[in-house]
Point group: C2
């Protein structure tokens, strides 16, 4: 199964080893691709709506025609078990695309086009911490699907 | 203000730079102490209840007489804004203690004694990922309290 994750911006150095840890461990389960798209612009010279729309366009270009699951603070909350079942369902289709918002959040354009919107938490996370959490949940999801032990 | 975080087990290598990143940035705001307590035992030779009780005892020894906030999957959900107000309230008291459960979760003993139980998510996280998320939220909390810009 192919899993694509699209996230605006770059990964900070302090999160690299943690993200790499899960990329390596996920190889057993899926062909993972993480695409870092260009940020929409600088808040000092542009308004947030313009930035969000630019970011959304970059993200939609990276998605192509695939349907996608949007990580959204105001989305639906799921347990790790339910998240695992989402992966299990999409495995039959062979691919799955996740989109994470940028530093300013997600645009309405993305909200409208998402197949499903899920919320990791009521808490706001940095977009790169959201990436790490998503990777851990995908890994956990496969462990649940495969009925493998995972006590961490 | 003093902030103490108690978490069973050790920190994995792949999360060290991320945890260190927030420890460093929090120095401006608080005197932070992270205490890693001993795990309760091995599931292959002990049952989970015994392990959890042992872990709880190690945690309670590390807490001393302070009241504490327990991170618990089944606790109350808060937004980052509400979390910041919790810190703001406890700043007057001068100290704050957080407890994170171990790989097997939290014992009833800890649930009973906690001043407050908060849930980061409906998703289950590793205890060390919970530590990282907590550190980021404490940092975000201070940025909110101080009314400082924080777009990440």
């Amino acid at each position: 199964m192919k899993i694509k994750i699209i996230v605006p911006g770059k990964l900070s150095k302090h999160l690299k080893s943690a993200v790499d840890f899960y990329i390596k461990r996920l190889k057993r389960f899926a062909k993972l691709e993480i695409i870092y798209t260009k940020l929409g612009g600088d808040l000092n010279v542009m308004d947030s709506k313009t930035i969000l729309n630019k970011e959304a366009q970059n993200i939609l270009n990276a998605i192509g025609k695939a349907d996608f699951i949007l990580l959204d603070l105001h989305g639906e909350k799921v347990t790790s078990e339910q998240f695992a079942r989402m992966i299990e369902t999409d495995r039959l289709k062979g691919n799955m695309t996740f989109v994470i918002g940028g530093p300013l959040g997600v645009s309405e354009l993305l909200r409208d086009q998402a197949k499903r919107r899920i919320s990791l938490s009521d808490l706001t996370f940095t977009h790169e911490l959201a990436l790490l959490i998503l990777l851990e949940q995908i890994f956990r999801g496969f462990k649940i699907i495969m009925n493998e032990k995972y006590h961490y």
